[in-house]
Symmetry: C2
């Protein structure tokens, strides 16, 4: 119902993450003139969301939804994120409890399950999370960003919830028109078994796992150097690991490799993981999603709390660089403003969804009474930027408002009042019939200005109150946007115009992005 | 799609604000035994939202929506909330900018308008705001709570946007089934004019206004005492004010009183306000909402930034107490746990929506380049609790999930596999057709358990895979919830069952709260 679309929504490209907002630049110039005034902008690493952005974020993945507080007791978050704990935002101690902003939606979910003694739940949650990272606005990393999580908690038949989460991931992405994605999978028990079998000591397993985790951003040579030079593993241990982590393929292919790997034959952890992956292979075939999946032994995932299956959805845009040169070139391309000194610091677009099984997290909050959990986090902004880029053309024509009818008055000359009150009354009649309608907030306005406003609002029909026609009990209904200015519309009875307008509107189908929006809402 | 509804969503009454959550009590007992473990709960003054709660919060009032960061630069909030600034939540200084959680949605909106150099916008925003208040959980006051704001910024014909905001307020509430409300209105220019004309010095106007603002919670004697004893006004000044602030009625009635008030005849501020209220009287009649409005000279509103029309929607439940005794009795009734020592500290449910015109706020952020604004904040939780109380019976039957079909397997005896993979495949077919479906995550489950799970999920149909029937290419479709256990359903072809299921589902109409939900979503 906006009469004028603000600059930021009219030209969404100008407000993209890839550019410094125009107004921040203006402000910057202003503040040089007047040093005492502070720079007017959103805090570092945060941004405003305008309407067009929000339309596509209304995903729904079934299940119940919950909404937890934006801050949690600090102790709840402590010790859950390893090294990244330093990125947690603390609230100031103003007396009372110590609290921090949530870092993800998984730990609050586990706290929620424990807190309410829930035995089983499927829930989705779309909300903002907070990380006091050094925001690289050009790389899509923010301090405040949305995640959409779907998790299943409860004791169920082995690998059944896991396969459902994978189905939800695939359905979620394909229904958004993203088809060129792969869900890379691995299993923590297999990975840990490989490390053990290759000779990594128990206490080194997590840090070697964290080195392997970098294979999506760094070439093998760099990861091997981290294992040997920085993390003290023997060259032959690293080389053995290297043999395993280069294996990827369909579930059946990688399973075949693992079943024949004599090094793992006696490793209990690896064999337990292999048995679970065999079950999973059956289930993803039943669900018909196996073509999207790849079983990739290099996938490790950073967080400590995963205990079983782990996965990460990547699009072709986020495929790992083949070697150091490609990495460096890519980093350089993405960071237009400065030269890239240290390419190993560079983090690409990364995964668009990721998750895994975490069977022990709820137990940390409930005196050890554990509830098995498995879940997926969609990176809403990343997915959104892919959709937006692909639909760029249609995007421009998408009106952020949903005005169907614009109510106008035509007249002039002596005794012309502008029909302001009459336009209000007619608009109210449309509102009361559930029709989105607007009128210009001016006592007298010329037809050109009213048509311009109607166009900006994306109105489909004009209802026109003519100086002579309206007092005679008639209004004119004109179809807009047909590039035919000579078309005068239909003169209809004021008593029955609502029915006429409804019939006219019923002939419209949104199509294009409107259809996408509806699809997302129904997900 | 949840197979088992958690206790918290099954029995929403147990999770009400009026009770301490059962689990917090359990935790409290536990923590006495084990002092070293911290109390597991959400932070003081915050709560978890479960699905049933969220269904009704999806209001839409047209316009574009924006979503601003949950924290703002501290300087943006400073000096906007008067005495209540002490309630602002600060983030810890961990290096970098000083930030605070937003206190309302109005100041971030004004910052947004200024920041993006917007000339005009209509926006709605549904989001949480933060006040480090002493939460009185029994009185519906939280530290984190939702507001739904609708604002119009831009230079328009006088009182036109104001009357549209009033129409939105009335429509919003009536469409939620709330009809017994009044929107009390007043005008800051009239109020200030009255204070001047009664002999209040310019520098005392705001604090006397703040005393008058308490008339919705305190009887006149208490307010008069505050004006004279605490705020140093002469008794005769207070008495003159007292004559004005007891006046309320329809817009035309109160206007008539003001037009005849000789004390105001020469007061420029009051006359400017009266002229605007005369325009408004015309417009609200054109919009057909005058029956909901009352022009009440005792309404003052706390915030300093209002410059013109102010208003507050109250229901019969939040009418002001007639005298000190009624106030005390009401306070006592609402606070069951402790005796009320000082009734003047008591704050009732209060308004369910409030707002006004604030023409100078944007200017504070843009070097004085002001954009006139007017808006309304709906108190989402308060409105929600009214709806919930009125719909209590239907509420219990409202399923938080939207499962339409439950896929089951019946069989047993030798060679019975439980059809787990087959149930997955059939469920996936339903998902792919856009139908919400579930199945039990057990390899073999007896019919009773499957029917119980279907009932919990609120499923309308069961699709049953029989041990002999399914291999013969047939599934059984049974209508659920008809209390007729002998009904065996229809045996249909596996190839065409999707069409059959769709046709069956098409005959259902949600009705009741489902209809309310749709209405709210379309608002």
């Amino acid at each position: 119902m906006s009469t004028e679309i603000p600059a930021a929504t009219k030209a969404p490209a100008a407000a993209e993450k890839t550019k410094k907002p125009v107004n921040a630049q203006k402000q910057l110039k202003k503040s040089k003139k007047n040093e005492s005034q502070f720079l007017l902008k959103t805090p570092k690493g945060t941004k405003d969301w305008s309407d067009k952005d929000m339309v596509l974020r209304e995903e729904r993945h079934g299940g119940v939804t919950i909404d937890t507080p934006v801050f949690e007791l600090r102790e709840i978050l402590t010790g859950k994120y390893g090294e990244d704990s330093k990125l947690i935002y603390n609230l100031e101690d103003q007396g009372g409890e110590l609290t921090s902003l949530r870092y993800d939606l998984t730990v609050p979910f586990a706290r929620f399950v424990a807190c309410n003694s829930i035995a089983s739940i499927k829930r989705y949650h779309i909300a903002k999370v907070y990380r006091r990272d050094q925001p690289a606005m050009t790389k899509g990393r923010m301090r405040e960003f949305y995640q959409c999580d779907f998790d299943i908690a409860g004791s169920y038949e082995s690998m059944i919830p896991d396969s459902e989460i994978l189905a939800i991931t695939c359905e979620g992405l394909t229904s958004l028109g993203i088809n060129d994605f792969k869900v890379k999978m691995n299993h923590r028990k297999i990975l840990d078994g490989i490390f053990q079998a290759c000779g990594v000591k128990e206490e080194d397993v997590r840090k070697i796992s964290s080195a392997v985790d970098k294979l999506d951003k760094l070439p093998w040579e760099a990861v091997k150097r981290e294992m040997t030079v920085e993390k003290g593993q023997l060259e032959e241990v690293a080389d053995k690991i290297g043999e395993f982590v280069k294996v990827s393929g369909s579930i059946r292919e990688t399973l075949g490799y693992l079943q024949n790997a004599s090094l793992l034959a006696d490793n209990a952890s690896a064999q337990a993981g292999i048995a679970e992956m065999e079950q999973l292979a059956d289930y993803v075939e039943a669900l018909g999603i196996e073509q999207h999946l790849s079983f990739d032994l290099s996938l490790a995932r950073g967080l400590d709390y995963y205990t079983g299956l782990i996965y990460e959805a990547v699009t072709s845009a986020s495929a790992p660089p083949k070697n150091a040169d490609e990495l460096k070139a890519r980093a350089k391309k993405d960071s237009k403003e400065k030269d890239v000194e240290d390419a190993s610091e560079y983090v690409g677009v990364g995964s668009i969804a990721a998750g895994g099984r975490y069977d022990n997290l709820v137990g940390m909050f409930s005196n050890g009474k554990s509830i098995p959990c498995v879940g997926i986090s969609f990176g809403v902004e990343r997915i959104f930027s892919i959709i937006k880029a692909r639909a760029a053309e249609k995007w421009e024509t998408l009106s952020p408002t949903h005005t169907d009818v614009y109510v106008m008055a035509f007249g002039g000359g002596e005794g012309w009042t502008g029909f302001l009150k009459e336009r209000m009354t007619v608009t109210k009649q449309l509102w009361s019939s559930g029709i989105n309608a607007e009128y210009l907030y001016k006592a007298k306005a010329n037809p050109r200005k009213q048509f311009d406003a109607a166009e900006k609002a994306g109105a489909k029909l004009a209802v026109i109150l003519g100086k002579e026609e309206f007092p005679a009990g008639k209004v004119r209904v004109k179809v807009l946007g047909q590039g035919d200015d000579t078309n005068e519309g239909e003169l209809v009875d004021s008593e029955t115009f609502l029915e006429y307008v409804k019939d006219k509107l019923a002939t419209y189908d949104e199509g294009g992005l409107g259809a996408v929006t509806r699809m997302v809402k129904n997900l």
